[in-house]
């Protein structure tokens, strides 16, 4: 399994030592705290990453919080939503992106691919897979979406739980590879892209299928992730113009999301424990009117345009 351990403790030198030891070896740590160079990655990635002065150790806990694009897409599938091509990104533009912008667009294409696949639109899914492969090769990730693996996924297309498991695994592998190779700035952008596109798609579907009110749960979930994204980008707004702009867009979006009318059917979540089974009932629901959907979309659009502009 590709996933490696990652201590997610609140900032602590001890946990950092522990995670370093896993791959650096004790001698290197003791000899002046030197760590070996990460495996070779394209030169431009290091240049791009060097623009970011971020203590990643403090933020890695947030990088794994968001659901994978596949999880969101399968949720949409559970709700039996239709497939709409118009709101999706243009897969033919994949070749124009690189560096950090490419990583954000990789997150967008992964989400579009997962959505197309989850709604059984295999031809568009293949087009997005091509876009994903094109971008993934820039980050030495192409083996994760190899033809053999895609064949395995296709064979399981009528077993959503199996597809979910495999795709979640592949997405996790991407996260781990980017972390291990010191490309956390890329990972951050990829997660942003996936989150952004999931929210964009959900809002678009809600506009077309307003009777699917349970989709508002997706919006509530995406709303709960905004503070984490803000923390990820607040870390380097003083050093990076891109982070400053993304932070500004996210702040405006958060302000709008805070105005969503939340209906509380109970004062607070109810937790029931029996033996070792825990059930938690959440009474929160959000009622999204067309006006509110439009308002959130209008705040989301500038961020999406900033990321997909060529």
């Amino acid at each position: 399994m590709v996933f490696a351990a990652r201590a997610v403790k609140k900032p602590s030198k001890k946990s950092s030592l522990l995670s370093n030891l896993a791959w650096a070896g004790p001698f290197l740590v003791l000899l002046g705290g030197c760590t070996p160079s990460p495996p070779a990655t394209p030169r431009d990635l290091h240049q791009a990453d060097s623009a970011y002065v971020v203590p990643w150790e403090q933020f890695e806990v947030y990088l794994k919080a968001a659901p994978s694009p596949v999880q969101v897409a399968l949720w949409l599938r559970e709700e039996k939503v239709g497939f709409y091509r118009d709101p999706l990104h243009d897969p033919t533009l994949a070749g124009r992106y690189s560096g950090l912008q490419g990583a954000a667009n990789l997150g967008i294409y992964l989400t579009d691919m997962a959505y197309a696949h989850a709604t059984k639109q295999y031809q568009p899914a293949y087009e997005y897979l091509t876009a994903v492969n094109r971008l993934a090769s820039r980050y030495s990730l192409e083996d994760i979406f190899s033809p053999e693996r895609i064949k395995a996924l296709d064979a399981l297309q009528d077993r959503p739980d199996s597809v979910q498991r495999l795709m979640a695994q592949y997405y996790g592998e991407i996260q781990e590879r980017l972390t291990e190779t010191g490309q956390q700035a890329m990972l951050r952008h990829m997660i942003l892209g996936g989150w952004l596109e999931s929210l964009h798609l959900t809002l678009q579907i809600l506009e077309r299928e307003p009777q699917k009110s349970s989709l508002s749960d997706v919006v509530l979930l995406q709303k709960s992730l905004v503070p984490l994204l803000l923390k990820l980008y607040a870390a380097d707004t003083a050093h990076s113009e891109a982070s400053r702009r993304i932070f500004g867009h996210l702040s405006a979006l958060q302000a709008t999301l805070e105005t969503l009318p939340i209906q509380e059917s109970q004062a607070r979540p109810q937790t029931t424990v029996s033996q070792n089974r825990i059930q938690i009932e959440f009474g929160q629901k959000v009622k999204l009117t067309p006006d509110k959907i439009q308002e959130v979309r209008s705040q989301l659009l500038p961020l999406r345009n900033f990321i997909i502009q060529t």
């Binding site: 201590a7 997610v8 609140k10 979930l221």
Partner: protein, 143 residues
């Protein structure tokens, strides 16, 4: 020079053993408690000292059953416990109030981002958390 290297080697052994010990938690807990649930191979691990805790942010989906397996034993033989919070940091459960259990099965009425804090009530040592998932028993019963 060789003495210096020897000293460095000896000094490096305790953390190396600690690391190996921490690594060993994962397969042991998986084999003992994961059962037939799905596991995507992800786990979280930390070495806790004093009253330190380790946090995990994780999105849990409605319609799935999750198994939370906290692994490890502290220097005082305490077992690890979990505090489960919602995204707004409202405490939903501290498993210490529910006695000692090797794992906890969790189901939610709505998909949510939760924060899970893993801690030892006393002592220090390695701790790990594995999260497996499978079909919801509640949903199956309703079907």
């Amino acid at each position: 020079m060789s003495r210096l290297l020897g000293l460095i080697f000896l000094a490096s052994l305790p953390p190396l053993f600690a690391q190996q010990r921490c690594k060993g938690l994962i397969p042991a807990c998986r084999d003992a408690y994961m059962g037939d649930l799905n596991w995507d191979g992800r786990y979280w691990r930390a070495e806790l000292f004093g009253s330190e805790t380790t946090e995990i942010y994780y999105t849990f989906f409605r319609g799935l059953k999750y198994r939370l397996i906290p692994c490890g034993r502290s220097s005082t033989q305490a077992t690890p416990h979990l505090r489960i919070y919602n995204a707004n940091r409202v405490l939903l459960l501290d498993t210490r109030t529910q006695g000692e259990k090797p794992f906890w099965d969790l189901e939610l009425s709505n998909t949510q981002l939760l924060i899970i804090e893993v801690y030892y009530p006393s002592g220090h040592g390695c701790v790990a958390l594995l999260i497996g998932h499978g079909p919801s028993e509640i949903a199956q019963a309703q079907d």
